[in-house]
């Protein structure tokens, strides 16, 4: 290959207390699929924000097709030929696809022409999408297509994709990869950000690995093993979690035909959900976010009250009990949203320890709080789960995502529940903290607790769960043993892409 499309030389960006990017240099060739690999917090996002004009570098230079490139804002980046699909979509649910795309354009064409263009592009790249549909009705995968098509309409020379597969089912990932390969063959370069190694091996021509803001290596992902790349990314080799081989006990938690109406217009109802977990079992519930995960956790935690018999713990009905009554009975939960749901951001870790541990750890007498004992419990959690913080009096929001998650999970696990339900336990958590959390979950199951892990991360579920089922539009699939599951079966259980619905029905 000749002249690089984008050349980055010595980019540095420092934020107070942390150097997000330190002397980062690499090049992207025209038509290349270039992976940017690194853990959460390695500086990937800051780097692409600089390329997209959202953040200005402190020092260093960029050049695009040989000319100096200093985008002052995303509009300038787009004018040069750089487009970006963000991890979090910026779409209006109450508008349709074409209206959403028109909103992001400088000079939108007439609605009819735009709809025709959208259909044309979506067909050309194998991304089926109806321009007249309401975004609120689309799946996460379809919403991503809206964002991609919005970018493609600008005819970009470089397309940046930030963790595009985190919300997709395996089948949707295949469709996306097909599109990206086609784009690449037509000469569009792609900067692909991910920490999922197998994807990068399947898709990318070249990989640049970032760790703590620095480029620690480049490799050809097709000829490098996933383990080697992981070591490069994390800086050490990670232990695979060890699971106990003890036989499972009696059924400990039973959910029977649980149905809950949606809380809001775009909320998801729960429909006829039935679950049985035995003591010592880890049940993995897969599914793309927004398919009822939050609602299921709320129904199990007691934030949503249901019929008494819909949830039974050790044969006793608990469906009508409040969160604290369920905690006393032995069901503990770890919600997905750390700041604001599992923990109060501005409160200290001591106060946050009290949030869920008051009953089981007897942290009050007649309503009067025992702060000494609470502090002691917070310190125990911090010590046992290696939470990095100067001390328990620090506010929850001062902790990094991984450390706060370790604290939140540790707070529940150390109360030795009979049943633990966690939603996205390692979302946005660095690899070593994620490994610690998974090990703690497996150890808890080894001590005889039943555990439900709700997660979008299929690798995680396959690694730690004994049985697997999937949540799709508020319905739970049949449960199957994890051992021997293929990605294809899982994809069908997840409901696949929306276009796969017919296929699923035909199979059954």
């Amino acid at each position: 290959m000749s002249a690089p499309l984008l050349s980055i030389d010595g980019l540095t960006k420092a934020y107070p207390g942390v150097v997000a990017n330190n002397q980062v240099s690499f090049q992207i060739q025209p038509g290349e699929v270039h992976a940017l690999l690194g853990e959460n917090g390695a500086g990937k996002s800051t780097l692409v924000k600089m390329i997209y004009g959202l953040v200005r570098p402190d020092s260093g230079t960029m050049s695009f097709m040989g000319a100096s490139y200093t985008p002052a804002e995303p509009r300038a980046a787009r004018a040069t030929g750089v487009a970006m699909v963000f991890q979090h979509f910026s779409l209006f649910e109450a508008l349709n696809v074409a209206e959403n795309i028109a909103l992001g354009m400088e000079n939108p064409p007439k609605p009819r022409d735009l709809a025709a263009r959208i259909t044309e592009v979506s067909e050309a790249y194998g991304l089926p999408l109806d321009p007249g549909r309401l975004v609120g009705d689309l799946s996460a995968g379809e919403r991503q297509r809206v964002e991609i098509i919005r970018c493609l309409l600008q005819d970009p020379k470089l397309l940046i994709m930030d963790e595009p597969t985190s919300v997709l089912t395996p089948q949707e990932v295949e469709i996306l990869f097909h599109t990206l390969r086609k784009l690449s063959a037509e000469g569009t370069a792609i900067l692909y950000i991910s920490h999922k190694l197998e994807e990068i091996r399947a898709l990318c021509d070249e990989a640049t690995v970032l760790r703590l803001g620095k480029v620690v290596g480049t490799c050809d992902p097709k000829s490098t093993s996933a383990a080697e790349m992981a070591e490069l990314m994390v800086g050490k080799s990670l232990a695979v979690p060890a699971r106990s081989e003890a036989a499972h006990g009696d059924v400990i938690l039973e959910v029977d035909n649980l149905s809950v109406a949606p809380a809001s217009a775009f909320g998801t109802p729960l429909r006829d959900i039935s679950i049985k977990i035995k003591a010592g079992e880890v049940l993995g519930i897969g599914g793309v976010a927004g398919n009822g995960q939050d609602e299921l956790l709320a129904a199990l935690s007691g934030e949503t009250i249901t019929a008494p018999n819909a949830v039974e713990l050790k044969g006793k009905p608990v469906g009508n009990l409040s969160p604290n009554e369920r905690r006393s009975a032995g069901i503990l939960c770890g919600p997905e949203e750390r700041l604001g749901h599992a923990a109060a951001p501005d409160m200290s870790l001591i106060e946050n320890a009290l949030l869920t541990a008051r009953h089981r750890k007897s942290l009050d007498k007649n309503g009067f709080l025992d702060w000494g004992k609470t502090r002691q419990y917070a310190e125990e959690v911090i010590a046992a789960f290696d939470v990095r913080t100067p001390g328990p009096e620090n506010a929850a929001r001062s902790l990094s995502g991984g450390n706060l998650q370790k604290f939140v999970i540790g707070r529940e696990v150390m109360q030795e529940p009979s049943v633990l339900v966690v939603n996205q336990p390692t979302w946005g958590v660095d690899a070593s903290a994620a490994a610690d959390i998974r090990q703690a979950i497996l150890d808890l199951a080894g001590r005889g607790a039943g555990v439900i892990v709700i997660s979008q991360d299929l690798d995680e579920l396959l690694e730690i769960s004994d049985n697997f089922c999937a949540l799709n539009e508020g319905r739970l699939s049949d449960t199957k043993p994890t051992a021997g599951l293929t990605m294809e079966t899982i994809g069908l259980m997840l409901g696949g892409a929306h276009d796969m619905h017919e296929a699923e029905v035909a199979h059954v």
């Binding site: 107070p16 200005r56 570098p57 402190d58 020092s59 260093g60 230079t61 960029m62 200093t70 935690s301 007691g302 934030e303 409040s322 969160p323 604290n324 905690r327 939960c333 919600p335 949203e337 604001g340 749901h341 599992a342 923990a343 109060a344 951001p345 501005d346 409160m347 106060e351 009290l354 949030l355 869920t356 008051r358 009050d364 309503g367 009067f368 709080l369 702060w371 620090n394 506010a395 929001r397 001062s398």
Partner: protein, 362 residues
Amino acid sequence: MFKLEKRPSPSKPWILATPILAVVMTMLAGGLMFAVLGKNPFEAIRIIFYDPLFNAQFASYSRPQLLVKAGPLILIAIGLSLGFRAGIWNIGAEGQYIMGAIAGATFGLAFYPTESPLIFPGMVIAGALGGWAWAMIPAILRTVFRTNEILVSLLLVYVAEKFLASAAVGFLRNPEGSGFPGSRQLNRIDAMSNPELFANTGMHWGVVMAFISVIAAYILLNKHLLGYQIKLAGQAPRAAKFAGVNPSRLIILCLGVSGALAGLAGLFEVSGPAGQISIDFNVGYGFTAIIVAFLGRLHPVGILLAGLLMALTYIGGELAQLMLGIPASAIQAFQGMLLFFLLALDVLSNYRIRMKKGEATA
């Protein structure tokens, strides 16, 4: 260019320093305003902050006034602060104050001319219940019909004022008052009076109650589960629900407590310093207490100090009107500056100011 940057944890030194800094800046800006009005700023500031307490000529009158004015402000503000911390906005303390006074006075006068030591305690309970009941209207409307408690509680102030007027000229009018509006003088009836407990201190039962409420609120917020739940509900409503806090119960509790304390303040006022139910009985304590609550950062000790400071600016402000002829509106602007600077400087305890660096070569 300046840039505000969120601190990882609120800064302890700044939390303590900003109120002092706010008072200093109010003195500077207020002094400037007085100078523009052609008054000697140093003299004006001295009259407002120093003379009411230490001037040989006025202090004997104005020093007791400090507690008389601060008492109801603190008592009402303590109740309001609990709700404000939980994100429950009772703006209608003025109305609850009026209803407490009417309920208490009605209870006492119903027994006239009986003399019994049980009448005054009964009036205290009736006063608290009157304020509580008036606050239950927005509480129940909010929990059952999801109405906005800010609007309902505020509008009920005007209803209470009309009710006060009808009581003063109607069912509570002094039968021996030659037809003038206003009830009997409660503070001249032994069984119904809330007297000054120590001569020339201004200390009456309402002030005692204010001090008790400060201590009780401190214990509640720092040592009791309920205080923890109040703070949690205000800071992270979703986490509060996860922790098992029942939002409706909290609304009823917070509005009830603030209504009862406002009602008590009204009762102690009508049976003490004011002395009778009259058409113009309420003088705005219920609204000023909102300012006091925020001036004290919703912290019990802060509210105690803020109540005293606010009372001081009232007394000093009146004195300055009298001595220097400063217009009343200028005094109000001065008091507004105090709140403005406090809230503006409050930013510094959660944020730090950084100078933005010049753009490096990109």
